[in-house]
């Protein structure tokens, strides 16, 4: 076997370990699903009637607002999934097992790839569960099969980017507690974008931020694919933001991973 196939085998071994963790301690997975579901129910059944009637972009009632909301809830779900990655990476650091891996002849990236792929599986399950609840509360997408495939690809691409960002945050954290807090800001970003209300309903500075942060094109692209609204330049922005976040986070994570452990 060559170096690349060894790296793939090692990453698979690491992924198996992370999936085992997940199955044995499913609280993180439940957390990943529970918070978006609770927020969705809250926004559909408590605020939905008012928001649906009040927002020009929605122009309807509770049912129309549910359709508007779900794409935002989906990106919220994958942003929240990063917390699990950051925690498990930080636990590996404090366990000292990362130091053991580093003194073994295994591909250095494979350890982190194991975590990242584990996050993708976990977030994928979370997204499926959230989507199931969304359909039950009245989400009615009009996407054709091609649009569904494209939507799943967009979700996977964004998840990959945030999984690497969370892995880097987990490595940068001083301990497990701060690793679980660091990715919190990711969870807030969908609120400061077009996830819950259109950006043109917001005042000056907030609106400017909402229109220029990555979660707005993420949400708009998904909304376009699932509900047929206009996508326009948001598709390119989504690909650009995802690629940039993934690449920079990957480089940051690898440099943190290779850093001298005593400088932590």
């Amino acid at each position: 076997m060559n170096a690349l196939s060894y790296a793939v085998v090692d990453a698979t071994t690491m992924l198996r370990r992370n999936l085992k963790h997940m199955l044995r301690y499913p609280t993180v997975v439940m957390f990943v699903v529970a918070i978006p579901v609770v927020l969705m129910l809250l926004f559909v059944y408590v605020f939905g009637g008012t928001l649906g009637a009040g927002l020009d972009a929605v122009a309807g009632g509770r049912h129309e607002y549910a359709n508007y909301l779900v794409p935002g809830i989906l990106v919220l779900t994958l942003a929240g999934g990063g917390q699990g990655t950051a925690i498990s990476v930080a636990m590996d650091m404090t366990d000292g097992i990362i130091a053991r891996f580093k003194t073994m002849n295994i591909s250095r990236a494979s350890v982190l790839w194991g975590h990242v792929l584990g996050t993708m599986v976990q977030t994928g399950l979370g997204l499926a569960a959230v989507l199931g609840v969304a359909l039950a509360v009245g989400f009615r997408p009009d996407a054709n099969p091609v649009e569904w495939v494209a939507a799943i690809a967009v979700l996977a691409m964004i998840t990959l980017a945030f999984a690497w960002l969370s892995a880097a945050l987990g490595l940068a954290a001083k301990n497990v507690e701060s690793a679980s807090n660091l990715p919190m800001f990711l969870f807030l970003l969908p609120f400061l974008g077009s996830g819950f209300a259109p950006t043109d309903s917001m005042p000056g500075a907030v609106r400017w931020f909402a229109e220029h942060q990555p979660f707005t094109p993420f949400t708009e692209t998904l909304r376009g694919l699932l509900l047929g609204t206009e996508i326009g330049g948001d598709a390119i922005a989504t690909i650009g933001w995802s690629a940039a976040i993934a690449l920079l986070s990957y480089l940051w994570a690898m440099s943190l991973y290779n850093r001298d452990p005593s400088l932590r």
Partner: protein, 323 residues
């Protein structure tokens, strides 16, 4: 300079240095570890022991020095070095959420061992390390000694030729410590080379063929346990007398002795051997001195340790022991 006639050197370091910012952690140390031996790096906390292990095991880079480990250049062929070594740290590096057996399986997979071979080695290690009963329990439920044994077992799946043991018994109870020593001795019998760090003198004395004393990032002494004990002029016979007159008599009779008038005692240098003791008693008899108490003090590694590391102001010049 120490010379070895051993055909192969497992670790050879020249001028190994490492700093963190302004803090000099390792100040150019030389190491020679022959294959199949136990080498102990002994020193107080903060002496640079763990840094040395981290460098030699490829975890961190050195700032200066030429090092080869298991016949490979440390900086240029780190993966070849990694294939030959195993590291067991003072903080056990096991996956807490996995069971003991799963931890071993993880290591076997990362070493790319064939399934049947992996199964055999895992079963064998669980048995040898007294972990068979707990194999199915998560590692987080293990006691300190069990974790340390699991940690070591995980390193052995790849059949390393060189094992780094960084303070393998720190924090263990006496029984677990004894078990660990037993395991280490068995490994050495199997031909493995051990690089051990410890702050326990008895541990180095019990296990090591050669000991190096590290203090403030410098090697202050190196040799076999016996050679190190000889470095310290601690061996003497202590005589106690009933009064000052008797002390005077004895001090005149025994050349090179040093007296203490407060305690009415006399220290006579010597190793406390039977012949030396007999001649000492003969001399005292001849001078007709009355002795009320006699005790023999042989130097141990504690003396070496305290003499060489305990007094930063009067630090001795680097001592080399010729073999």
């Amino acid at each position: 300079m120490t010379t070895h006639h051993s055909p192969r050197s497992m670790i050879q370091a020249r001028g190994l240095g490492k700093s963190y910012g302004d803090k000099l952690v390792l100040d150019g140390i030389d190491l020679d570890v022959a294959e199949g031996t136990v080498f102990a790096l002994l020193g107080p906390n903060g002496a640079g022991k763990t840094t040395t292990v981290q460098i030699l095991s490829t975890l961190i880079g050195a700032d200066r020095g030429e090092v080869s480990v298991a016949g490979h250049h440390l900086a240029l062929e780190p993966d070849a070095v990694r294939d030959a070594i195993a590291v067991t740290g003072q903080f056990s590096a096991v996956a807490n959420l996995l069971t003991g057996e799963e931890n071993l399986r993880l290591m076997a997979d990362l070493q790319h061992l064939p399934r049947s071979l992996a199964r055999r080695r895992i079963a064998d290690l669980l048995e040898r390390f007294e972990l068979a009963d707990a194999a199915g329990k998560p590692a987080m439920t293990y006691s300190g000694g069990m974790r340390r044994r699991l940690d070591l077992a995980m390193g052995l799946l790849g059949e390393p030729r060189l094992i780094f043991l960084d303070e393998p018994t720190t924090g263990l109870d006496p029984r677990s410590r004894r078990v660990m020593w037993q395991i280490i001795r068995e490994l050495v019998r199997g031909g493995v080379t051990i690089f051990l760090t410890t702050q326990y003198l008895d541990e180095a004395d019990q296990l090591a063929d050669r000991i190096a004393l590290l203090d403030n990032g410098r090697l202050v002494a190196e040799g076999t346990p016996a050679e190190l004990k000889r470095l310290v002029p601690g061996g003497h016979v202590l005589l106690r007398f009933p009064d000052a007159a008797q002390l005077d008599l004895a001090a005149r009779a025994l050349d090179g002795s040093s007296r203490d008038d407060e305690t009415l005692t006399l220290q006579v240098p010597g190793d406390g051997g039977v012949a030396a003791l007999r001649s000492l008693l003969d001399q005292l008899d001849h001078a007709e001195v009355e002795v009320i108490d006699l005790s023999i003090h042989t130097p141990d590694l504690d003396d070496v340790f305290l003499t060489l590391t305990g007094q930063p102001d009067r630090r001795p010049q680097e001592m080399e022991v010729a073999v």
